[in-house]
């Protein structure tokens, strides 16, 4: 199902320092990191500085990333979080006081850490999925896209869509299914799983 069999994934490309893949990576991950850092209370200019620091660290450590040990998202989160803590330390040192935001960043409780990582996961998944939708929409026929979008996103009846695009109702699902597989495949390139919530439920035995 994954296109990673035939195409170098973005993450693999970055690991190999492929310039084109790095540009794609930057375009995807800079907004993700910015959204995360802004949610953590940084001003836009501060966020830009921290993102640069994250990218510098990432480039220095990328060859140590082992996808068999953890998801790329988790690995990058660790780098982003550590960079943010370094930033908080510098800020605290500059202010000569650990209070407010900086204190919270430096002394997070376990529940805070879990909450922050969950926030990161939600941002990451949504941004990657939106990117995947843009990529796939440009790849597939307007008919296939209409079946996917109108049935799965807009919840229109299959019979109405079939009439509009002049196909059998069952073919609406065949088309939607093909598009969905492509969307999953692009998400795979970023080590992101659309059905993560389902997996979490399964692992909890519910």
């Amino acid at each position: 199902m994954s296109s990673t069999n035939t195409q170098l994934s973005v993450i693999d490309g970055v690991c190999r320092q492929d310039a084109q893949r790095w540009r794609e990576f930057d375009a995807i991950y800079r907004p993700i990191l910015r959204a995360f850092l802004r949610n953590r209370g940084l001003r836009d200019s501060e966020a830009s500085d921290v993102i640069q620091d994250v990218f510098v660290k990432l480039l220095g450590k990328i060859d140590t990333y082992d996808r068999t040990k953890c998801r790329f998202r988790t690995w990058l989160f660790t780098i982003a979080q550590r960079t943010l803590i370094d930033h908080a330390r510098r800020r605290a040192s500059h202010d000569k006081a650990l209070q407010g935001w900086a204190a919270q960043m430096l002394k997070p409780s376990p529940s805070d850490s879990a909450k922050v990582e969950q926030e990161w996961t939600v941002i990451h998944r949504a941004k990657i999925l939106k990117h995947a939708l843009r990529v796939v929409r440009a790849q597939v026929s307007s008919r296939a896209w209409a079946c996917f979008e109108h049935r799965l996103l807009k919840d229109r009846p299959a019979a109405d869509i079939a009439r509009d695009v002049k196909i059998e109702p069952n073919a609406v699902y065949v088309n939607a299914c093909r598009v969905l597989k492509l969307v999953r495949s692009v998400c795979d390139e970023f080590d992101e799983d659309m059905s993560h919530a389902f997996e979490s439920d399964m692992s909890r035995g519910s």
Partner: protein
């Protein structure tokens, strides 16, 4: 043991995940096939995620 040995195509499961009524044959298959129940759950989760990220369609 599934009532039918052949597992349904993904598109058939997608229809059910999207809210279509399952045929009796499919319902019986699902009752006996944990793999297909998992496939169905995954498709339902995918649809929920899509709606959450792009409510009302993809602009």
């Amino acid at each position: 043991m599934p009532s039918s040995l052949t597992c349904p195509e993904e598109a058939e499961l997608l229809a059910v995940a999207a809210g279509e009524e399952a045929s009796n044959e499919l319902r019986m298959h699902l009752a006996g096939c944990p793999l297909c129940r998992e496939r169905l759950g995954r498709l339902a989760a995918d649809i929920a995620m899509l709606k959450q990220v792009s409510p009302g369609g993809f602009a």
